[in-house]
Amino acid sequence: MADTERVPTVIADNAHIVYRIHGSIGPHQSSPLSSFKRILTRQKSTAVREVHAVKGASFVAYKGEAIGLIGTNGSGKSTLLRAIAGLLPVERGGAIYAAGQPSLLGVNAALMNDLSGERNVTLGCLAMGMTPDEVKEKVDDIIEFSGINERGDFSSLPMRTYSSGMGARLRFAIAAAKKHDVLLIDEALATGDAKFRKRSEQRVRDLREEAGTVFLVSHSEQSIRDTCERSIWLEGGVIKADGPTGDVMKEYETFVKK
């Protein structure tokens, strides 16, 4: 590799990610007696299950890159993003190094549904570490960018009254309001309407020009092709391919069609 001027922003070194799920009680343990038997026989509780979601991922992401993460449902894409963001710990032996503080932006990003959109913007911005003055400055821009007020004053209504598309747009607008060294986007672009998708794709390009790295998880082949020139294909927690989007997509498609 001769391009020494390329600055890495995320380095994953043999990262394994395991998370635990509580409260998935199986069909044969619904009585106190069976739970008691389980404890006596020292059987491992199935109420606490471990999921080995990512098995040894290694890659280097550089400044100014937009990387698409593709793979079938449950292949570990979102988990990998969370680990890059430092929200899920990496198991011993491997590590993920990142520049600054990567931020994750996903359709699952939970804001408070009982609060108005406007208050959620304030809360979200504060949670990203902005000062109250910065927040005050940006609230109107964020709401305007999200476009939730295009059909009347929705920003003062509780978020539980929003359609899923509106909610996703607001979340994207909040996260995109801040300059990020590394921005991780989890299927956020797929939920908006065509108009918003265009606007957000433009925003992703802007964010990249501000010298950040963008990771995008999406099932929409088109939005990956449009925004990312590099793609990583994850399957069953293992990286199957890593390279230019066109090549990786082709490999992935032949795999899916099988």
Binding site: M1, V7, P8, T9, G86, A109, M112, G129
Partner: protein, 298 residues
């Protein structure tokens, strides 16, 4: 270079060396305690906003809204007045049993609700924790703040009751401020302690009601503290008298009411209150901080 598959190990400088060269840090590194405190301070606006958001979210879909902050302690006092004042007409040898009882109920209730909601501070906000980056101690601290705000309303009700039942106003009343402050520090520590424990062992949530019940009977809430000195001796009495909630309740009763029999001298009570606040506050904080990076795992 052919960039189709990177299954073979990465060549060149090791990832660790490269990361150091470009100043990358491990995702999920535990900050030092002082760094963590600085982060937490930088997030003070978030903590405050999160606390008020929680209150508005909880009361937002009621008709009376924020009035419930005052109504809840008022109803609470009303129930105890009807049962102990009207139906049973209990005196237990105290002059002003209703005020005595309400002071106990409100102060105990403060720690009780903080512990009950604190045990879910982490496990109930996993969505937020897995989506956004902020010092996790913000969550138990916010919960303490929510209850502290409710406590201010409760104190207003308590003062009204105390006045109504004929206690004279004097300078000692100002002592409720430092007493509540110490209790708040104690509660914040307790919230952080149980929220990490609750994140590790979800079963704790089922046990908390029983623990709090035992604690209630050991805190002289429903009967005068002199019952303990009459019936208990030796280590049992020592344990009861060191009980932090008992200490905080005694201090409030001492500040607001005349002729209250205390378990110890006021000086001793103040020392105990301060020691408990420090031990629980710092201990709970340090314990919570140690687990900072694992909370997202669930």
């Amino acid at each position: 270079m052919a960039q189709t598959t990177v299954v073979e190990p990465y060549s060149g400088p090791t990832p660790k060396e490269q990361a150091r060269k470009y100043g990358l840090s491990t995702a999920g590194r535990l900050p030092s305690l002082s760094e963590y405190t600085a982060q937490l301070w930088a997030y003070r606006h978030f903590i405050w906003e999160f606390a008020s958001a929680k209150v508005s979210a909880a009361l937002g879909n009621t008709r009376l809204g924020m009035i419930w902050q005052v109504l809840t302690p008022l109803f609470n006092a009303g129930v105890y007045y009807v049962i102990f004042g009207v139906l049973l007409n209990t005196k237990h040898g105290t002059d002003n049993f209703i005020a005595y009882l309400c002071a106990g109920v409100f102060i105990f209730g403060y720690t009780q609700t903080v512990v009950q909601t604190g045990v879910q501070a982490v496990s109930g906000n996993l969505g937020l924790i897995r989506a956004l980056h902020f010092p996790r101690a913000s969550l138990p601290i916010s919960i303490t703040l929510v209850e502290a705000r409710n406590m201010i309303a409760s104190m207003g009700v308590l003062i009204a009751i105390v006045l109504f039942t004929g206690e004279p106003i004097n300078w000692e009343w100002l002592l409720i401020v430092p007493a509540l402050l110490l209790q708040t520090i104690f509660n914040a520590g307790a919230a952080m302690l149980v929220s990490r424990l609750g994140a590790k062992v979800p079963d704790l949530r089922q046990l908390i009601p029983f623990i709090m019940r035992v604690w209630l009977y050991g805190s002289a809430v429903l009967y005068p503290v002199t019952k303990y000195t009459e019936h208990l001796h030796g280590w049992k009495l020592a344990v009861i008298e060191a009980n932090p909630i008992l200490v905080y309740i005694e201090l409030i009763r001492h500040a607001l009411m005349e002729n209250v029999e205390l378990a110890g001298s006021p000086t001793l009570l103040w020392i105990e209150a301060a020691v408990w606040a420090l031990v629980m506050g710092i201990g709970g904080y340090a314990y919570f901080w140690r687990g900072e990076k694992g909370y997202g795992r669930g």
